[in-house]
């Protein structure tokens, strides 16, 4: 009995760590480097995963001193009809700059811009190569099985653009024989609908997964117009969207330790561009945008004894049309890496290359871009309490200089007894971002631009303990990052052109506290995330720039999320509070009010013919707060959503 309770606590603690960002291997031990799922067995209501190695390890294990947030499929389940933007906004304290409900949404980690966070799907970049960034409202959670969010500079691990952090989205085979799947339907306020279905068929050696979703909303909600005297109540115009996506994956085991994977997805987004409230009654200014994104990859991976390898070739095509402007690009990429691991050490090395052909009328040259990188990663655990990792990456890119990107991490387990765990960690890294194709070629050749380079140092501690039916975990990270050559566009007479801002400094802290308790059939957990970000331009392009030393635009000092959940089978209720602090627009005197949002949800799990059905009801912005994330773009008032998920 004691062992079972201990095991349950252990699992709960593990989940707390997953949510808080501590590495999985921190709990399981240094042998469990590979998180790739594989087989599962059920113990009462708890699913325990074990793994076997069929490829190289995730690069995250080479960052022992960094903050990596692991989000598994169960945590993503309640957000299946949402976009990645919704998930980040609701369940992390990372700031998101949003231009309306379901509209453009750009992540900002530690005060950096959205182009400073890399985003991949099974290792394939999701950033549009011309823009060099990803609109998170375009990424459907429905497709993915897990996610890792690496907070902090990580270019040595994930490559170009990981100055603020990196998001890795993954899809995985389940190897559950037979035909399985789910149907998810939801309907909500403002004519919001979502329908998705996923179908898996597996023989144990071969697995196929097909998934499709369609989402749409009118977003015709009311708001108070802050550009008209008396703040008249108006109905929002031109804010609808209709999106669909389809994904197909095939997995084929070869022998006992090799795997061939083919993935392809296609997304089609057709979206009105929500007008600023000052243009809400000006139909002549309304516009829409069409995006079509194709991603496909073929990979082969395997392992034998202490050796493993992974190779991937991918093709992507992005098309965006705004009025008469078309921005398109095709990209072919490959990656090959090998790994050697022993009990105390893992060495991983690899090469990757990209060839991009943009099709943009505003480029004055017939641009084609080639990139090639090489990297070497090392992890060494000399004693059970000490974990060390390091990495280096370098490369060559057309018309750009690529700096070396090293990293060094260390973690020390100071206390590990009687249910108490205390770990101290630290990391230093240098990351970079090559100017995007638009930065370099839009309206001319801007090859004078330098790569953005960040140097980051951070240190933190993870503390946790469990006692019978109670567990507590805490992490805190303090960081400082200097970004040189930050790229922004400035007026240059009649045109705007990009320039490098000499130096931007970001410093702050991240805090996470998780508490979980169970009594009889009740289970309660509460998690708090808090971010303090201080990001300022310390060396300006223009010496007398009045904003020197002031917080950057749209960067709140404080962000906080509090997530409470109580379960008693078959019900789960949750209450989310999210606070976004005061921030300014480009005008340092123009301050946007902070806002606190309250969301509630209730779900009921039942069976129909031995099949699981989950019925969920959500109320967002319960207090009906009128707020803007980006000035003049009203966000949604109180809204409701009802969803039904049928698993078979």
């Amino acid at each position: 009995m004691y062992k079972r309770l201990l095991f349950i606590s252990f699992i709960l603690l593990q989940q707390a760590h997953l949510a808080l960002g501590s590495s999985f291997d921190f709990v399981l031990g240094e042998k469990s480097f590979n998180q790739d799922t594989v087989s599962k067995r059920t113990l009462d209501s708890i699913v325990v995963s074990t793994s076997y190695k069929n490829g190289t390890s995730s690069n995250g294990i080479f960052a022992v001193g960094s903050n990596i947030i692991h989000v598994d499929s169960s945590l993503l389940l309640s957000s299946k009809s949402n976009s990645l933007a919704d998930y980040i906004r609701e369940k992390s304290s990372i700031y998101l700059k949003e231009y309306g409900r379901g509209m453009r949404a750009y992540i900002s980690i530690r005060g950096t811009s959205s182009s400073h966070t890399s985003l991949t799907w099974n290792g394939v970049s999701l950033a549009v190569p011309t823009l060099g960034q990803t609109d998170l409202s375009h990424i459907p959670i429905y497709f993915f099985d897990n996610m890792k969010l690496h907070v902090g500079g990580a270019s040595s691990l994930y490559g170009d653009g990981s100055i603020g952090g990196a998001i890795q989205l993954n899809t995985l085979p389940k190897w559950k024989r037979g035909l399985h799947g789910d149907v998810t339907l939801s309907a909500g306020s403002f004519s919001t609908y979502f329908a998705g279905t996923s179908l898996r068929y597996s023989t144990g050696k071969f697995e196929s997964r097909s998934a499709f979703f369609h989402s749409m909303a009118k977003n015709n909600y009311y708001f108070n117009n802050a550009t008209k005297p008396g703040l008249p109540r108006e109905k929002l115009n031109n804010s609808s969207y209709a999106n669909f996506g389809v994904m197909q994956e095939f997995y084929k085991k070869i022998g006992n330790s090799s795997l061939v994977t083919f993935n392809v997805w296609y997304l089609d987004f057709n979206r009105d561009i929500q007008p600023s409230m000052s243009l809400n009654d000006r139909p002549n200014t309304y516009a829409f945008i069409i995006d079509k994104n194709l991603r496909s990859s073929l990979s082969l991976s395997g392992a034998k004894n202490s050796y493993s390898y992974s190779t991937t070739i991918s093709y992507s095509n992005d098309y965006e049309r705004y009025k008469e402007d078309i921005i398109a690009a095709s990209k072919v990429a490959f990656n090959a890496e090998g790994e050697y691991g022993r009990k105390k050490m893992i060495v991983k090395g690899g090469v990757n290359g990209e060839y991009t052909i943009p099709s943009v009328e505003s480029y004055t040259f017939a641009v084609k871009e080639s990139r090639a990188y090489g990297y070497l990663l090392l992890r060494y655990d000399p004693i059970p309490k000490l974990f060390i990792s390091a990495g280096i990456r370098g490369g060559i890119v057309t018309d750009s200089k690529v700096p070396f990107m090293p990293s060094f991490d260390i973690k020390y387990r100071a206390v590990a007894n009687n249910g108490y765990l205390l770990t101290l960690r630290s990391s230093i890294s240098k990351s970079s971002k090559i100017p995007s194709l638009n930065d370099r070629y839009w309206g001319g050749a801007h090859t004078y631009l330098k790569s953005e380079i960040s140097s980051t140092a951070e240190m933190g501690a993870d503390y946790s303990f469990y006692r019978d039916r109670f567990s507590f975990a805490l992490f805190t990270t303090f960081y400082r990052s200097n970004v040189k050559n930050w790229i922004r566009w400035f007026p240059a007479g009649q045109v705007w052109r990009p320039q490098n801002i000499p130096k931007v400094n970001s410093k702050g802290c991240e805090l996470g506290i998780s508490f979980e308790s169970s009594l009889d059939n009740w289970n309660y957990n509460s998690t708090l995330y808090y971010n303090y970000i201080n990001v300022k331009t310390v060396e300006t392009l223009w010496g007398e720039d009045p904003t020197k030393g002031h917080q950057l635009a749209y960067q709140p000092f404080h962000n906080l999320r509090l997530i409470n959940e109580i379960k008693r089978a078959p019900f789960t209720a949750s209450l989310h509070l999210s606070y976004t602090g005061e921030r300014t627009t480009l005008d340092i005197y123009d301050k946007l009010k902070p806002y606190l949002l309250v969301d509630m949800a209730l779900s009921y799990l039942f069976t129909v013919g031995r099949r699981g059905v989950t019925l969920s009801a959500t109320v967002k912005n319960l207090t009906n707060r009128s707020y803007q994330n980006v000035k003049f773009y009203p966000m949604a008032p109180i809204n409701y959503n009802l969803s039904l998920r049928y698993d078979f």
């Binding site: 802050a226 550009t227 008209k228 005297p229 703040l231 600023s276 409230m277 000052s278 243009l279 000006r282 002549n284 200014t285 505003s362 309206g443 801007h446 004078y448 922004r488 566009w489 400035f490 007026p491 240059a492 007479g493 009649q494 045109v495 052109r497 320039q499 392009l541 223009w542 010496g543 007398e544 720039d545 009045p546 904003t547 627009t585 480009l586 005008d587 340092i588 005197y589 123009d590 000035k631 003049f632």
Partner: protein, 360 residues
């Protein structure tokens, strides 16, 4: 003699049309308001972040975002020009969205409903007791090989000042900008040069287009000198003095002028014109930005003051100080107050894209 008659007709026209542009016409009456300077911050076009600031020449203090403070709402647009009328109202001409806000000079509170009817990318405004003239680019454009747009159906809209209702619209050429009224003539800066129209009731009848030999590119803005000659800015070339009666070009002065805005200013006694211009290197970085002075009598050009990126200049009629703004449009602007001795007296931080100074 001719000049005297012209001056009389000018005064009569003012009485009749009451077209007064405080920024463009020389001061006729002494200032009886406090020494305040209304600073217009154009804002970033995509952010609709226009704002206005108020600078006190006595205390040297600046108050930013006074529109928001007075009205509880934002302008939510881009200001492209402004004018003080009858010393009690300020007209703010805005794009994106197109509107003209009217605010009270003393309280900065909105007066009435903004003008929106008939506006299509409005540019410049002349306000009188009875009529309001607004130049507009229009919405129709042609894309040039360079990628720039030109608006060849630009027009002037005339409004009744009391009711703010649209009275008439007249096409005037391409890329209409600044205007000035003298007598019964409307002079408007367009890409074709300076177009002169005769005002007949509320109609504009084209009389002549003035473009000096060898000139290319359009005219942008006007000032009047001490002799009530018109000076027009041609960013491709310099400033051109025009006799408002004969419509002959009297003088051409080569002087750098900002190509984007093309605005020029003149001192209170009409003897010195101020222009500004920024030079960029091959990497589009500003390498030299200067304010130039032009003697209206001799045509002598002098470099008056240097900075990083000027986007507006004006002279205080009360103190004689030069007000110049340095901008980036991605952050706040710096207003520099420069004495007649070319010494920097003070710098204050204003809003985004500071470009005009209106003196009470």
């Amino acid at each position: 003699m001719l000049r005297k008659n012209l001056f009389k007709s000018f005064l009569v026209a003012i009485a009749a049309l009451s077209i007064i542009s405080c920024q463009k016409t020389p001061p006729i009456e002494p200032f009886d308001f406090e020494q305040k300077v209304l600073i217009l911050n154009q804002g970033n076009f995509t952010e609709h972040s226009a704002s206005i600031s108020l600078y006190d020449e006595v205390t040297g203090e600046i108050q930013n975002r006074i529109y928001e403070s007075a009205n509880g709402v934002s302008i939510g647009a881009t200001i492209v020009s402004g004018s003080i009328a009858s010393m009690d109202e300020v007209f703010l001409v805005c794009n994106n969205p197109d509107k003209i806000d009217v605010i009270d000079c003393k309280s900065a509170k909105l007066k009435g409903t903004p003008i929106t009817e008939g506006l299509e990318s409005p540019r410049y405004i002349l306000v009188g007791n009875n009529r309001i003239f607004v130049s507009n680019w229009g919405y129709e454009y042609t894309e040039l090989p360079s990628g720039f747009w030109e608006f060849d159906k630009s027009f002037v809209a005339i409004y009744d000042r009391a009711t703010r209702e649209l009275v008439s619209k007249t096409e005037v050429g391409t890329d209409a900008e600044g205007m000035v009224v003298m007598g019964n003539r409307l002079y408007i800066a367009v890409k074709e040069g300076v177009k002169v129209f005769t005002i007949v009731n509320d109609n504009l009848i084209h009389e002549r287009t003035i473009l000096p030999n060898g000139f290319y590119g359009g005219a942008k803005h006007f000032v009047l000198d001490h002799s009530y000659n018109i000076w027009a800015s041609f960013p491709e070339k310099g400033v051109v003095q025009i006799d408002p009666v004969t419509l002959e070009v009297l003088k051409i002065v080569d002087v750098p002028i900002d190509f984007m805005d093309g605005n020029i200013a003149i001192n209170s006694i009409g003897t010195t014109i101020y222009t500004y211009n920024t030079e960029f290197d091959s990497n589009y970085a500003p390498v030299e930005s200067n304010i130039y002075s032009v003697d209206t009598n001799t045509g002598v050009v002098e470099k008056f003051f240097s900075g990083n990126y000027f986007y507006g200049v004006a002279m205080s009629p009360f103190t004689g100080d030069i007000f110049a703004s340095e901008v980036s449009f991605t952050s706040n602007s710096l207003v520099k107050i420069i004495g007649a001795n070319k010494e920097l007296k003070k710098s204050v931080t204003a809003g985004v894209g500071t470009f005009r100074f209106l003196f009470f």
